[in-house]
Structure formats: structure tokens, C-alpha cells
């Protein structure tokens, strides 16, 4: 029903009977708006709108110096080697992708001339290819023209295993070909509803062929330009000291009118989040501080009478507690948490249900995350179009206790519930990080009241998130009953995020725990929903399938969503940054400006 209604509406937009804004508002009403909604229009035959621009300055330059503070400084400046987001942020100052994501998840053109759509022939109806038209007249910082050859080269460079790029995953399953000097065609192996993965956003930044062509493959690390980027971006490279500072100056030939606003740019690294917040909000030494994950109390105190404020960007990052479906305490063939076992306690749905009622999300928000968090009943929290409206959550120690009573878990002499001689004792692990330890304490307290004994464990983040096969404390091995962290969602599409929990991706000793389904949860309906969604080119049906997948997950209680986390940045009062929850902080840097004071 929703389907036909939508089709009619898309037709109305096409004929001009309904305006775009009206359409988006209607979509909002049925819970289907934001980033993918515009892509929906695109595939429905209407071109995807470019996100509105709020850029005010009417001339290039004159904005003085822009001072950015990244408390983890970028350590390299080649987007194809960017191990972490900090490196992508740094490379993005100089290199540019074809398009990027604005704060609402709309696509914004950078090096592309137009957004591919069915109407302009950019998209194929079968979802098997995309044609990108490039902006004419764009020049690299050294004066050479930017052409389709550069785009094709990036694909060849990244997909070569010998180059050892981190972007290989995006590029190895596609084919990129040059149509003419300003047109490239990307071909997919199977229908791909989300076609904006390669060459979009900071990880899709494009490096110049003429400087890297000799350094493809095993020689990649010898390229002198790995450390001195020559890009197309608004700022030209001046200086780079890994982990310390990046400096740039205005690019007078930048391809966007009146941009950039600032004459020089500096990105300083090092230190910690709290003092970064202080340097931006309280003393005003810097204009912008990245990723200020500091307790809200502290930020509020700094903001009082300060020179800056905090800004928030909504993305899809969810802090969750994962439940182990296998037994971490029984070893089978030298492997704990083996697929051949079943968790003795958590395999009982009543226990899982009770646990989900014992996480006081409201308290976690109030005490810990403050303005940087939203309470949610879902694992998948964005883009809006994919967010389920069918789920609810509640916190009730009484109901949880009752549920456990009914399931036969009776309190023993020590107050801890037991059934068939099995005590309700759980090991709950997470990475070391202030808010996480506090959340652990809140959950533990509630569990205790309900007669569940929870033992807390904290692992250093560098170990917890490592893929070290020899270490028992990694999140992938999951040698605990519960574990809490978040997996960042790096693009406005749920495909990668949800694919992880397909049963074929279970982490085992056999695949050296590189499988990404760490709760080791197997559900046929979920597998079917994901398989269906990945082949579905009808975007409305596709969204419905992802919503269904989320609901199955929540019904089975594989995850207990703790908090939908927002990006927190510190920013000088006069600075007007554009920060998207769906992209790197520097992805929209060309639109940043400073409001004249006075």
C-alpha cells in the first residue's frame, strides 16, 4: 500500500504537481525521509537534489586563519592508506571525492558535474551501473587538469592487493571505465541499490594519476606524495608533520565560486579531548575541536561565558550491548565461544528479555551522554528512512524479575537466581573509556536488584578492537557473556552495517575470528531479509527489508541498544562549520566560513 502511494507521489513530483519539499514532508509523515529518501526520488525518476548550501561569503578568501584541533593528529595523508577517520579527515583537506554528504545525508557535488539519476541517464534501471559526469576545468594544485583517467587510476591503484590500500573493499568488486575525458562508468557485479560508495565521501577522495602512477603496487610506500598531497581541494598543501600538524593555504584556482573563505588552514594534533574542548570553548585558542567526547557536565561548565560552544551532528552510531549466543566458558577443539555450543543462560529468551529491561537507557542518557545521546529501541538508527517504528523499550526491574520468576529462575540463598543448578552470573566486558565504565555500573546495579550477578571487565581499547589472533580479549573472540561498544556507521546506508550479522559471517577459529558476526547469532529470517535487501533495487521494498531485519534482531534480543550517539564537536562562536553525521568532519570544509563579528 505504502508502495503504490509512494509511486503516485513520485509521479506527482515528476509532473510538477507536488514540489520536492512537499514530497519530503509527506515522507517524513510516514517515517521515510532523510538521506536515502532523495536517492529514492532519484531511482524513481527524479534527479537527486543537491543539499542546500548555507554558504554566505561573496568572495574568495579574506577569512584569515582557520585553526582546527584534532586531539588525535592525522599520521598520514593518502586517503587510500587512511587507517582511521583522523587520517581521512587530514587527507580530505587537500583531496576531494566526486561528491560528499551534507548534514541531512543529501549528496553534495564536489568533483562531479551532476548527480547521476535515471533521468539524466546516470543510473541504469537494473542497478548494474552508474555514470558520473565530471566537472570540467578542474585543476590539480600543480596545474594539471583533472580527468576521467584520474578516477580510473584510483580504482586500479586501490584494487591492487600489492598496493595494500584500506579502500580495497570498495574497489575490488566494481569495474571503472572511462567513457570520455569527463565521464566515467562504474559497473557492479550485481544489482547495487546504494551506488554511492566508491568515490564518494572522504574515503573516496581521488589522488592524481600523474603523481602516483609510478607508485602503484608494491612500490606504493615510496611515493613522495604520500606525505605531500597534491589535490584539487580548497586548500593547497604547505607542511605536514605526522601526528603533530598539517598546514595549508588557500587555493586561488578552486573550482567552486567564492570558496574557500579562509586564507590558511592549520590542523593541530595531540593531547586529549577535555583540553581540546577547553582550547576551543574556553580560551578560544582554536576554532574547531574534533570529536569532543567529554561528559556533558564538563561541556556545559566550559560553555558558560566561554568563547565557543558545542555542535552536534546526527548519524547512525549506536552504542549497544551484544549478547553471546555461544558458550564462552566451554572449550571445543581449542575454541571458546564455539558454534558447537549454546550459551547456558542467554539461550533462554526470558533471560535476554529480562536483561533488555534492566538497561536504564534514560538514566544513561541523563547521567552520561547528555546532549550527545538519544534514547532508542533500535539497533539501526539511521538514516531516518530505515528506522523502525515498530519497536519499543522499557526499563522495569519488577517486570524483569517477574519474567525470570515465570521462566523458573528462582533466587538462591545468596540472592542470585538459579535454575537447574546454573547460577545467573554474567561477565560483561567493554573497552576502557569513561562513559562505558559508567554505563557498566548502571547496568550492573539494576541487574543486581533483579537477582543477576554481573561481573564487569574492561579491556584497553587497542586490545579490545585489535584483530590479534593470539589475544583472548578482543571483541571478535567475545570470551564473555555480554560486551558493549559501537560500530561506526560511515555512510548513509545500512547495507554494510546490517550485513555483518548474516549467519555466514560468524566469527570462528577457522576464519581466525575475522568473521564480523561476533554475537554468533544465526537466524534464517534475518539472513533472508538481508539477502533480499541486497538484491532489491526497489528502494521502498529495500528499506522495508532492513526495517524487518532490525525488528528480527530486536525481537531476538541480539543487541540491547544503549544509546544513539551523536557526533560532538567544539566550535568557536563565530565559526559556521558544516558537519554531517554521515561523513568526516572535514567533508564539507569548502562551505565553512566565519561570521563577521561586531
Amino acid at each position: 500500500m505504502l508502495d503504490t502511494e509512494l509511486r503516485t507521489m513520485i509521479d506527482e513530483v515528476k509532473d510538477g504537481r507536488m514540489d520536492r519539499r512537499g514530497f519530503i514532508q509527506r515522507m517524513l509523515a510516514v517515517g521515510l525521509t532523510a538521506p536515502m529518501a532523495t536517492q529514492l526520488l532519484a531511482i524513481g525518476g527524479v534527479a537527486m537534489a543537491e543539499g542546500p548550501s548555507v554558504y554566505k561569503p561573496t568572495k574568495r578568501g579574506g577569512g584569515g586563519a582557520l585553526k582546527l584541533l584534532w586531539w588525535q593528529g592525522p599520521t598520514l595523508l593518502n586517503p587510500h592508506f587512511a587507517t582511521g577517520t583522523k587520517d581521512q579527515d587530514g587527507s580530505r583537506l587537500f583531496y576531494e571525492p566526486l561528491a560528499c554528504w551534507d548534514p541531512d545525508g543529501n549528496m553534495k557535488l564536489v568533483l562531479a558535474a551532476e548527480i547521476p539519476s535515471l533521468q539524466n541517464g546516470g543510473l541504469s534501471a537494473d542497478g548494474m551501473s552508474v555514470i558520473w559526469k565530471l566537472k570540467p576545468g578542474v585543476k590539480w594544485h600543480d596545474g594539471k587538469p583533472f580527468t576521467a583517467d584520474d578516477v580510473v587510476f584510483n580504482w586500479e591503484y586501490a584494487r591492487d592487493p600489492a598496493t595494500a590500500t584500506v579502500t580495497i573493499g570498495v574497489h575490488r568488486d566494481i569495474t571503472v571505465e572511462k567513457v570520455d575525458d569527463l565521464t566515467v562508468r562504474i559497473k557492479f557485479k550485481k544489482p547495487t541499490p546504494f551506488w554511492a560508495d566508491a568515490f564518494v565521501g572522504a574515503p573516496g577522495s581521488i589522488i592524481p594519476k600523474h603523481l602516483f602512477a609510478d607508485y602503484k603496487g608494491a612500490k606504493s610506500r615510496e611515493a613522495p606524495n604520500n606525505l605531500s598531497p597534491v589535490g584539487t581541494g580548497p586548500y593547497k598543501f604547505v607542511e605536514f608533520k605526522p601526528g603533530d600538524v598539517i598546514r595549508g593555504e588557500i587555493n586561488p584556482d578552486y573550482h567552486m565560486p567564492n570558496r574557500p573563505h579562509f586564507d590558511t588552514i592549520e590542523m593541530k594534533g595531540g593531547g586529549d579531548a577535555v583540553s581540546a574542548a577547553r582550547a576551543v570553548i574556553q580560551t578560544g585558542e582554536y576554532d574547531f575541536g574534533w570529536n569532543i567526547q567529554v561528559e556533558d557536565d564538563v561541556l556545559l561548565r566550559l560553555e558558560k561565558g566561554g568563547k565557543g560552544k558545542t555542535v552536534y551532528a546526527v548519524g547512525g552510531d549506536t552504542e549497544f550491548i551484544a549478547l553471546n549466543f555461544t558458550d564462552p566458558n566451554t572449550e571445543v577443539d581449542g575454541e571458546r565461544s564455539s558454534m558447537k555450543t549454546k550459551h547456558p543462560l542467554l539461550s533462554d529468551p526470558a533471560v535476554r528479555k529480562a536483561l533488555s529491561m534492566l538497561v536504564d537507557r534514560e538514566a544513561v542518557k541523563k547521567v552520561i551522554y547528555g546532549r550527545a545521546g538519544r534514547v532508542t529501541p533500535n539497533f539501526l538508527n539511521g538514516p531516518e528512512k530505515f528506522v523502525s517504528k515498530n519497536t519499543t523499550w522499557e526499563f522495569s526491574i519488577e517486570k524483569a524479575s517477574k519474567l525470570l520468576d515465570e521462566a523458573g529462575w528462582k533466587p538462591g540463598a545468596d540472592g542470585i537466581r538459579e535454575k537447574d543448578g546454573k547460577k545467573l552470573k554474567l561477565l560483561y566486558q567493554t573497552a576502557i573509556n569513561g562513559p562505558r565504565q559508567k554505563t557498566q555500573a548502571i547496568v550492573k546495579q539494576a541487574c543486581q536488584k533483579a537477582g543477576i550477578d554481573v561481573e564487569l571487565k574492561s579491556v584497553v581499547a587497542s586490545v579490545f578492537f585489535s584483530s590479534d589472533v593470539a589475544n583472548p580479549d578482543t571483541y571478535a573472540k567475545f570470551y564473555a557473556d555480554l560486551e558493549m561498544f559501537q560500530i561506526p556507521m560511515s555512510q548513509p546506508d545500512p547495507a554494510q552495517h546490517m550485513r555483518r550479522y548474516h549467519s555466514r559471517n560468524v566469527a570462528t577459529k577457522e576464519n581466525k575470528w575475522q568473521g564480523v558476526n561476533f554475537p554468533r547469532w544465526v537466524n534464517k529470517d534475518y539472513d533472508a531479509a538481508i539477502d533480499g535487501a541486497e538484491a532489491e533495487t526497489d528502494l521502498v521494498k529495500r528499506a522495508a527489508l532492513y526495517i524487518k531485519a532490525n525488528d528480527i534482531m530486536m525481537q531476538d534480543i541480539v543487541f540491547i541498544p544503549v544509546m544513539h550517539r551523536l557526533k560532538v564537536e567544539a566550535c568557536a562562536n563565530t565559526l559556521r562549520p558544516v558537519v554531517s553525521g554521515w561523513a568526516n568532519e572535514t567533508d564539507n570544509l569548502f562551505d565553512w566560513y566565519r561570521e563577521a563579528t561586531g
Binding site: 599520521t75 579502500t167 605526522p242 582554536y286 589475544n471 578482543t474
Partner: protein, 319 residues
């Protein structure tokens, strides 16, 4: 003399080999993975991490990796950073000037305070000056640098707004202004480190001086009718400086090694902050190079201290 130096240098070789072996094994056994950040990025398939590990030889047995590292080190190749994908020596050389400037100034400040104060206090033991100097020395070395650092920031940057607390490695100014800015931003870290060092060094100078000043030959010098300044500087101080020289010489490697905590607080891009960020990101080649170079410097400065003894006290001979 030259024979002695040669022998000492030869002895240093096996000890450095031992140090490097221990360092390498400890680092290899330590948990963590330089490509751990990839594991949580859903964009990156897990095979990428595995391929990178293979490319950088992380999956080889430890002894092979050690021998490879040693062979490279002997040829002057300090290794290749996993995280920055550049040569470790460039990375270290980039950081060295800042560390030398900040930590070196702090050491000089410490000496400039410690020697006069310590000597003066020793010449008038238990006087008011001595009492005050002692009290401050105790306070000084009881307060850790991370505390005084934050205190300084709160007072001088936030309340008074006099000094910046983010250190900038190259200032965009020339001439006198550059010099002024360079000094201004270094004041707080140099003070924090210098006062901490000065406190313990003052105590040390004072007690060394007290030991010497009571000796007969000092009394003899006074009996000869020499003036107080001459007795103190020429006769007493020269002997009292021998243990102080040891202390200072052993501090010298630290000038190159940086101060981890202080550098982190003030965002000084020195060797210390390089070391800590490399440890946190499991960038073993950098950690290995920094610690090993540090070990070499300790051995070297020990030797220099021993040679300096001979110059300060000709009775000490080298055999």
C-alpha cells in the same frame, strides 16, 4: 685513556644487543595490533587487515622479525612506521628539535636554580634560607608534573589568559616576534619540567656540598686566608660536582627522550608524545627505534660521565 674508551665501547655492544633483544621480545609479546582501527570500520573487509599484517611481516616468527630488524638497524635503517607509512628516522628527526629545545631549556633552568641555591644553602645549613629552600624543594618534587602542568594552565591560560597552552611547532612570524612567541609558548612546559628537576637537584647539590665543605682541605684553604667565594667555587664546588655530574649526565638521554606526560599536556610535538602515541597505536617500529636509541644514549652518556670524572678529579684514573 683511548684504550679505556675503546674497551668501554666494545663492552657496550653486547649490552646493547641484549637490550634490543629484550625490547623486541617484550614489544612482540605485548597485546594489540597496529591495524586494529580497521577492525571496527565496516568499510574495510577483514582480509585487508590480514593482508597488511602479511605485507609488513607481522605474521612471521619473532626471531626472524628480530634478525631482520637487527640487520636493518646495523645498516642504519631504523624501520618503517606502520601508522605513518614513512621512515622512522624522518619521523624522529622531525620531533627532535622541539624536544631538545623544551627539555634542554628545562634542564638548563633546573641547573641554574639548583646549583646556586644548593650551594648557598649548604654554606649556611639550617639558616632561614636553607629552611625555605628545603621546603620548596620538598613541595617541588612531591608535586607530579601532570598536576603542576594543569595548575599552570588553569592559572596562566584560563584565568589570566597570558600564555597559550597549545604548543605550535612552527610559528608563523619572523624575527623578534618569532623569538618572542617561541619563548612565550615554552614558558609553561619549561617551568613545569624545570622546577620539578630543580627541586630534586637542589637537594642533591646541597648534600654533596655539605659533605665536602666539612673536609679538612676546605678548612685549610680558609686558614690560608682565601676569601669565601674563592674557597667555595674553586675548592669545595669542584669536588662536590662529581656526583652532580653523574646525575646530570644520566639526565641527558632524557633530553633526547622527551617528557611523555608534559608533552602530552601541552601538545608539544616531541619524542615523548611520539613514543606514547606510537605505543597506543601499536606502531612497534617507532616504539622500538625510540626506546633503542634511548638505550644507546644512556650507555653513551654513562661513558661520558665516567670520562668527565677524570677531568674533575685527576686522581681517578682509567684502567
Amino acid at each position: 685513556m683511548s684504550q679505556y674508551v675503546l674497551r668501554r665501547l666494545l663492552i657496550a655492544v653486547p649490552s646493547l644487543l641484549g637490550i634490543s633483544l629484550v625490547l623486541y621480545i617484550v614489544l612482540a609479546l605485548a597485546p594489540g595490533d597496529p591495524f586494529s582501527e580497521l577492525a571496527t570500520n565496516p568499510n574495510v573487509p577483514p582480509e585487508v587487515g590480514a593482508a597488511l599484517r602479511a605485507k609488513f611481516g607481522l605474521d612471521d616468527p619473532i626471531y626472524l622479525r628480530y634478525l631482520r630488524w637487527l640487520a636493518a638497524m646495523v645498516q642504519g635503517d631504523w624501520g618503517f612506521s606502520f601508522v605513518s607509512r614513512m621512515n622512522v628516522d624522518t619521523l624522529i628527526l622531525q620531533r627532535l628539535p622541539t624536544t631538545l629545545y623544551v627539555i634542554g631549556s628545562a634542564q638548563i633552568l633546573a641547573l641554574l636554580i639548583a646549583i646556586p641555591v644548593g650551594v648557598f644553602a649548604a654554606t649556611r645549613p639550617y639558616s632561614i634560607f636553607d629552611q625555605i629552600a628545603n621546603t620548596f624543594a620538598f613541595i617541588g618534587f612531591s608535586l607530579p608534573t601532570f598536576f603542576t602542568g594543569l595548575l599552570f594552565i588553569l592559572v596562566f591560560s584560563i584565568t589570566l589568559d597570558w600564555l597559550p597552552f597549545v604548543y605550535s611547532s612552527d610559528i608563523k612570524a619572523t624575527g623578534i616576534r618569532w623569538l618572542f612567541e617561541q619563548i612565550r609558548q615554552a614558558i609553561m612546559p619549561v617551568m613545569v619540567l624545570g622546577l620539578f628537576q630543580a627541586a630534586s637537584m637542589t637537594r642533591f647539590v646541597r648534600s654533596a656540598m655539605l659533605d665536602v665543605i666539612r673536609l679538612d682541605y676546605v678548612t685549610t684553604a680558609r686558614a690560608k686566608g682565601l676569601g669565601q667565594p674563592r674557597v667555595i667555587v674553586k675548592h669545595a664546588m669542584r669536588n662536590a660536582m662529581i656526583p652532580v655530574v653523574t646525575l646530570v649526565a644520566l639526565q641527558m638521554p632524557a633530553v633526547f627522550g622527551g617528557a611523555i606526560v608534559t608533552e602530552q599536556i601541552f601538545r608539544i610535538p616531541g619524542i615523548g608524545s611520539l613514543l606514547i602515541s606510537s605505543i597506543l597505536s601499536n606502531d612497534t617500529p617507532v616504539v622500538m627505534a625510540v626506546t633503542f636509541v634511548f638505550a644507546c644514549l644512556v650507555v653513551l652518556f654513562n661513558l661520558i660521565a665516567d670520562i668527565l670524572y677524570g677531568w674533575l678529579d685527576p686522581r681517578i684514573s682509567f684502567r
